[in-house]
């Protein structure tokens, strides 16, 4: 096993990795930009290396500086976390070239699955379902009509070179197809300098369900079940859970999706931890979407229901160990739900809200796991992702997990910045959520049906006024003495 590992990341995942390394008795090397010198990860790590200025392009994305730091500190391997360089094949190769172990899949697998079209080809070749459609561009309106007819309306026009929703059009009726192709094609030309568009069957209000896979470098590959991540804002996940409520309706779905995921990963020559994302339609047909060739933000959900430590396995597999778990050994127990705590204002279009955390009270107790990267007094930098922490509850069943999460949120207090805690309480209280009726369109409906909070009891308002008045008069000492009566001048 490694003796020292560098963590090429920041925030909560860097803290998660420091903890995971410490539990395996491996020394950790944190890296930091100018904005992160005082970060929790740097404080907690065994060693720390400075990378450069705050912008990622000058720090966390600098392959040369990171490799250099690893060599200087005598690290034998690098864990990339998620984001930043984690899905960068060039970085994985640079590690290998420098004699360092990249803790992740082979660079070749990252390359293959990094391109959406190549990944789709691999999935098709492996026999995994993909959203039906044409892979090549539309050549004529006649061809488009025939394809759309055979797919069945509604269909989706997508730009071949696309991304971010540009050049995308939903088409519900054949009479709209021609003008839609014209519009989409022109938008694509404008956005990507490539006017090619193709057709896909539109999956209406799909669920986003992904499968965790885990494989070693000796050809053994298994799946660890699903995570349902349908609740998203701006295409970013905010709540993830396992089991997906769908599994209650169709218990065979996990096996079918898991088998498909394993086939795709095997076809890609995959090893280490990875995730295959699927869309699932109303009839529980699932379609390969893409593969994330790294540890996922929401990995704790899988850790809690399977009892397996994904980070620990990532390290062991990278060090050459055999994955000693057979598919039939994997058990899913209870229910886990994760909330991503962001520095953002859910009442103002989820705009980021960085700044200084002037107060922090964190939840704990039965069934609660908090993976946090912040502390009271920390100034959340402007420069990075607004994810502060992940609050995860495990309980014997989904209803109990929901109750437990609400309880934990009631203990969680963050001052100085805005966070999405109250937003989670409202979702967790939502009846459609309780029934497990999820889709990527969930939040659209939620915002429409959400009732405004009732007026607070007048006593609560009075308490706020009293505390504001008395805490104004007496500057708070760093530690107050709770057993002596609180006194003030009148």
């Amino acid at each position: 096993m490694f003796r020292k590992v560098l963590i090429a990341n920041r925030g909560e995942i860097a803290v998660r990795l420091v903890r995971g390394l410490r539990e395996l008795n491996i020394a950790s090397v944190a890296v930091y930009s100018d904005a992160d010198r005082a970060s929790l990860a740097v404080r907690m790590a065994d060693e720390a290396a400075h990378l450069g200025p705050a912008p990622s392009s000058e720090s966390y994305l600098r392959i040369d500086k990171i490799i250099d730091a690893a060599l200087r500190h005598g690290a034998e391997a690098i864990h990339p976390g998620y984001g930043f360089l984690s899905e960068n094949a060039e970085f994985a190769e640079a590690c290998t070239d420098a004699g360092l172990v990249f803790i992740g899949p082979p660079a070749e697998a990252i390359k293959k699955m990094g391109s959406k079209t190549a990944a789709r080809q691999i999935a098709i070749a492996a026999g995994a379902p993909v959203v039906p459609g044409t892979e090549s561009a539309i050549r004529s309106i006649e061809q488009a009509r025939a394809t759309a007819h055979s797919l069945g309306y509604p269909v989706l026009l997508k730009a071949s070179a696309g991304g971010g929703g540009k050049g995308m059009r939903r088409v519900d009726r054949e009479q709209d197809l021609e003008s839609a192709i014209r519009d989409a094609s022109s938008e694509a030309a404008h956005a990507f300098h490539n006017d090619e568009v193709y057709l896909e069957k539109l999956v209406i209000e799909p669920r986003h369900i992904e499968i965790q896979v885990l494989g070693d470098h000796h050809g053994h590959l298994i799946h660890l079940g699903e995570r349902e991540c349908s609740i998203q804002r701006r295409h970013q996940k905010v709540i993830e859970e396992c089991p997906s409520p769908l599994m209650g309706i169709d218990p065979g779905l996990r096996d079918r999706m898991g088998a498909a995921a394993v086939k795709v990963a095997r076809a890609a020559g995959y090893a280490n931890a990875g995730t295959i994302e699927f869309l699932v339609d109303r009839d529980r047909n699932f379609y390969f979407l893409e593969m994330n060739t790294r540890l996922q933000v929401e990995h704790p959900v899988t850790e809690l229901v399977t009892g397996l430590d994904l980070v620990s396995w990532q390290l062991k597999i990278a060090a050459g160990a055999h994955l000693t778990i057979e598919q039939s050994d994997v058990r899913w127990t209870g229910s886990a739900i994760e909330c991503r705590i962001y520095a953002e204002d859910p009442e103002n279009n989820f705009l980021p809200f960085p700044g200084k955390i002037t107060r922090l009270v964190e939840p704990s107790g039965p069934g609660i796991r908090l993976d946090s990267g912040v502390y009271e007094g920390w100034t959340v930098p402007f420069d990075y992702d607004p994810l502060l922490a992940k609050l995860v509850a495990w309980a014997p069943d989904r209803n109990a997990a929901i109750s437990r999460l609400k309880r934990a949120i009631s203990e969680y207090k963050v001052g100085g910045i805005r966070v999405n805690l109250a937003f989670f309480t409202d979702i967790l209280n939502d009846e459609a959520f309780a029934r497990g009726e999820l889709s990527t369109a969930f939040l659209d409906g939620f915002f429409v049906r959400r009732k405004p909070a009732p007026d607070p009891a007048p006593e609560m308002e009075a308490v706020a006024a009293i505390v504001a008045t008395l805490s104004r008069q007496k500057p708070a000492a760093p530690v107050v003495n709770p057993t002596s009566k609180w006194k003030w001048e009148q």
């Binding site: 809200f353 009631s410 009293i466 008045t469």
Partner: protein, 157 residues
């Protein structure tokens, strides 16, 4: 002790006498203890209220967050008689961040919905639009400046 307060925008009156308070006519006995850094426990009629000072003037009571301003009565009266000059509209930063582009200049005539300033934080850009037609009378920031939420950036008349 008698004070005027503004709680979540509503004016109120608070009177504290020993272990008794009067708030907008409601009179109750209470007990208050510090119960953690910036955290207070209040008991009123046997009910327990947890109050956390999130930041000065922002108090969370149980699951609700209140923004509270406290004045002695004279202060408040002076304040309300001032008021904002009619027709002027402040455009404030919706989030902390960096001003990446300024799309107008002082003196420009602008339309409702016209973009004024682009603020960026955490890779998200937010274009602030004018809520009404008018003229730019003040520009209180520069490109590259760091702003806090609620900071006045532009004044329209």
């Amino acid at each position: 002790m008698k004070l005027d307060v503004i709680v979540n925008g509503r004016e109120g009156e608070l009177r504290l006498e020993g272990s008794r308070f009067e708030y907008n006519g409601m009179v109750r006995d209470y007990s208050m203890e510090a119960s953690g850094p910036g955290i207070f426990s209040l008991l009123i009629d046997g009910r327990s209220y947890q109050a956390t000072v999130l930041s000065p003037g922002t108090i969370q009571v149980n699951d609700r967050i209140f923004s509270v301003e406290v004045f002695d009565p004279r202060e408040l009266r002076a304040r309300s008689s001032a008021g904002a000059s009619a027709g002027r509209q402040n455009i404030v930063a919706p989030m902390p961040g960096k001003v990446v582009r300024i799309l107008i200049s002082v003196g420009d005539t602008i339309e409702a919905g016209q973009g004024l300033i682009v603020v960026e934080a955490m890779k998200m850009q937010n274009e602030m639009k004018s809520p009404k037609a008018g003229t730019v009378v003040e520009l209180k920031t520069t490109e590259g400046a760091t702003v806090v939420a609620g900071e006045i950036l532009v004044v329209i008349e």
